[in-house]
């Protein structure tokens, strides 16, 4: 009884790109940019998968969710596929971003060259520390002045920024988050250790440096245990 027609197509078809696939699209995008810079015209799924560090089967499956952008027996046109992935990710439009917290991490983020090249425009830098307010930070060649976090509302409203980055100490993260959300930000990248409470519809991604190190430690420990087990055996 083949009843497997409707259920899967609901997810796989129009619009619904699996999370696992979305998380790999930036890698494909980056690999294609590198190929493009080298002047490569065509690329096979095998070559691109190699560059991105995945299997060719996975790559083809992933791309199939975006559409049918290759040519059988030939491969993919680099520029065309690059555009299609950029479009799927939303990189063909400009996104206004505000960064709250301009300590070392905030500085690192503001100076990150990967932002501007992918359509992210830092329209505001904010901090609560008077020592930092007024400082000029060079972001993608433009000078951006660090402003008081109290002026956040105005900037978010006037620029229509929909993405906010929180790089503050833990203690102020939730408060900053509330303020961002209240003024129209609906996507937040959180570098603070706390789990943010947000209303439904607001998307939060948390990047925690300690988490990454801890996972690394776990694997490191497992290695030494394996060595020990071998010695015992």
């Amino acid at each position: 009884m083949p009843v497997s027609q409707a259920p899967k197509s609901h997810v796989g078809a129009r619009g619904g790109i699996p999370d696992a696939t979305v998380s790999r699209l930036p890698m494909y995008h980056r690999s294609l940019v590198a190929l493009s810079n080298r002047g490569t015209i065509l690329v096979s799924s095998e070559e691109l998968a190699d560059a991105a560090g995945v299997s060719s089967a996975k790559l083809r499956k992933d791309l199939s969710f975006l559409g049918s952008y290759g040519t059988r027996g030939v491969g993919y046109e680099v520029e065309f596929l690059l555009y299609q992935i950029a479009r799927a990710l939303g990189l063909t439009q400009e996104w206004s971003v505000v960064i709250v917290g301009v300590g070392n991490l905030g500085h690192a983020l503001a100076g990150y060259p990967g932002f501007a090249s992918r359509g992210f425009k830092v329209v505001g830098l904010f901090d609560a520390d008077p020592a930092l307010i007024g400082e000029e930070v060079t972001v993608a060649g433009r000078a951006v002045v660090v402003r008081d976090v109290k002026e956040l509302a105005q900037t978010v409203r006037s620029t229509g920024a929909s993405i906010g980055v929180i790089a503050t100490p833990e203690a102020s993260a939730q408060q900053v988050c509330n303020s961002l959300v209240a003024h129209g930000v609906t996507s937040i990248l959180n570098f603070a250790t706390v789990l943010l409470e947000v209303p439904e519809g607001v998307h939060v991604r948390r990047v925690d440096l300690a988490t990454e190190l801890q996972i690394l430690a776990f694997h490191e420990q497992r290695k030494s245990q394996m060595v020990l087990a071998q010695e015992t055996a």
Copy 2:
């Protein structure tokens, strides 16, 4: 025909903790530390799951891979569970870490308070820039001097550091990685955009700020598309 006995138990049983579970252990650890600081003695799976932002079923399933550390009808002892998770993650031992690349990001990492409190000791800071070499950076109350990346080998050997953090520009990342691996580092946290080539047995985790922002942009775009679709309908 119930043949499902051996296959699953191979992964679920001794030692083999699923990747998805490992990735959540740091969150549980953090939540337990918070509870411990508040003086909480006992916690139920429901409460802890809430604090960590997961379902109680998922939490109990995750914890069951570590062992049976709760009491039915009662809950989990905070201090005991905290220790067990720390032990599983390898946080009961000290890990020596070297950080290569002491720009804004490297500074942010070195100054990150979450390192020392979880047993990570920064034993070396390295850079290739003469302007940075010699600078004293305060790491967990100790002064650590930034040294020339050429002296990396000596420090890794003498301290037995097994974890390396790469916060260099893209161009030097692979070279630094090779050097780390050559001198005994077997786990690497990579903040550079490139995909590092490493020999088998070396564990690499990559954290890419641009990737995170791109995934955020994807979801943000999907929201606006949904709004558009609603308006059309």
